[in-house]
Symmetry: C2
Subunit: 235 residues, 2 copies
Amino acid sequence: MAVRRSALKSGPSKATTPAPSTSRGATRGQVDTAVRSGLLTGRFIPGKAVTIRGLAAELGVSPMPVREVLQRLAAENALEVKPNGRIQIPDMTRGRFDEVLKARLLLEPELAELALSSLDSSDVKALTAIDDDIDQRLVNGDAEAYMRLNHAFHFYIYRASGSKVLLPLIDSLWLQFAPFMRTVYGRVGTANLVDQHKEAIRAVEQQDGPALRAAITADITDGMGLLGKEILLKA
Amino acid sequence: MAVRRSALKSGPSKATTPAPSTSRGATRGQVDTAVRSGLLTGRFIPGKAVTIRGLAAELGVSPMPVREVLQRLAAENALEVKPNGRIQIPDMTRGRFDEVLKARLLLEPELAELALSSLDSSDVKALTAIDDDIDQRLVNGDAEAYMRLNHAFHFYIYRASGSKVLLPLIDSLWLQFAPFMRTVYGRVGTANLVDQHKEAIRAVEQQDGPALRAAITADITDGMGLLGKEILLKA
DNA sequence: CATGTCATTTTGTGATCACAAATTTTGCAT
DNA sequence: ATGCAAAATTTGTGATCACAAAATGACATG
């Protein structure tokens, strides 16, 4: 049989270890990071099933840590456990989409404004670097890299807030809409995507709360509202 | 050794089975329901450790389903996995409290208004029944029953929305603040608690969206804002 | 009486197994 | 070919085990 395309381990096995690699929950952390980043970059297709043994084999670990990670992600509504126990990437529906959009608009501008005072000029530089990278990827049509960097941009801001409550909620939202957005980019491409990142960066520079809030709001509306609704109308 | 006080299996083993009891994830569903309701009624004390084997023994099941449920609840920030792997009820801090309050005020009025059109006169009756029950428990000082009923009141409304996104987020928030609120009620009692439930019911009767939103907002502010902040200032 | 050290116990983690349910494939009859 | 039943496979679940790390308690030493 032909080698099945792996949804994980994309690049040449990058040795990045955001999760503890040698301490208590080593393997679980590794699996968690792998699946999460896979979801956020759209390497999982909505509706497709995810099997414990399959993932375990792909990652070269035993089924145990995979079981726990999948349960964990199911609790965050990033995965769906069907009544027969099968686990799959949830399909996006119009209602779900509207709710995610609404929740994002409620929470993300709030957290961005909360983080504003913790961001200084060095952060502006970092954000600018990410945004420049994004512009590069957009013209190249590299949807996966775009999604990863767009996530990095937003969460660079949000994480600065030091939030322990709002941030996980937003995390859950991104995990829910990311796989669907990937399919959207697959249809319309990434070349003519627009974002409000430069406005956001300027707002950070000037420590302008309302402006940052407006930029994030506009960015969400542009990114999700315009594209997503159009696609979903066909369902 | 003396019989240790069990945090679960409170009453005379009520045969309520909200989760599937005979199908695929039977035991896991049972454990999940037990721990969740334990958290929501404040039978777990913040800072206290929760052990897998301990819970498994209490519930008469093997450690396996407990492991998965605890991971699941940790993903919802209802439990905290410390770096050494130990699991405990998170302590409430001032920052966390403010964030939960802020998130509740953003999400709950929104979802209530979203649910409004799905609520009819029969729901008004049900809500009134719950609220009458609450009034009874308040004077009797039954904090645990109060918490359970207050949760039932709010989520009766929220659930009517049919939400699959906002509702889980709010769920997570309640799991986070409930154990702390229980300790608050333990200090100040429940006799002089006030709520805006009757205003909420009237708003539902009249299908008045802004009024319902205002009632929920006021209820959250009264219930958490006033009491909680006072207690937390001592920390 | 305080304090550090060592043995004992507890605890989470990863692995493996057995089993039932569900899916998929196979094979046969129409 | 087409539909259908039965066999074979896959899959999630719960249980148990072995192991290392951590917490706890006992105890000796200052």
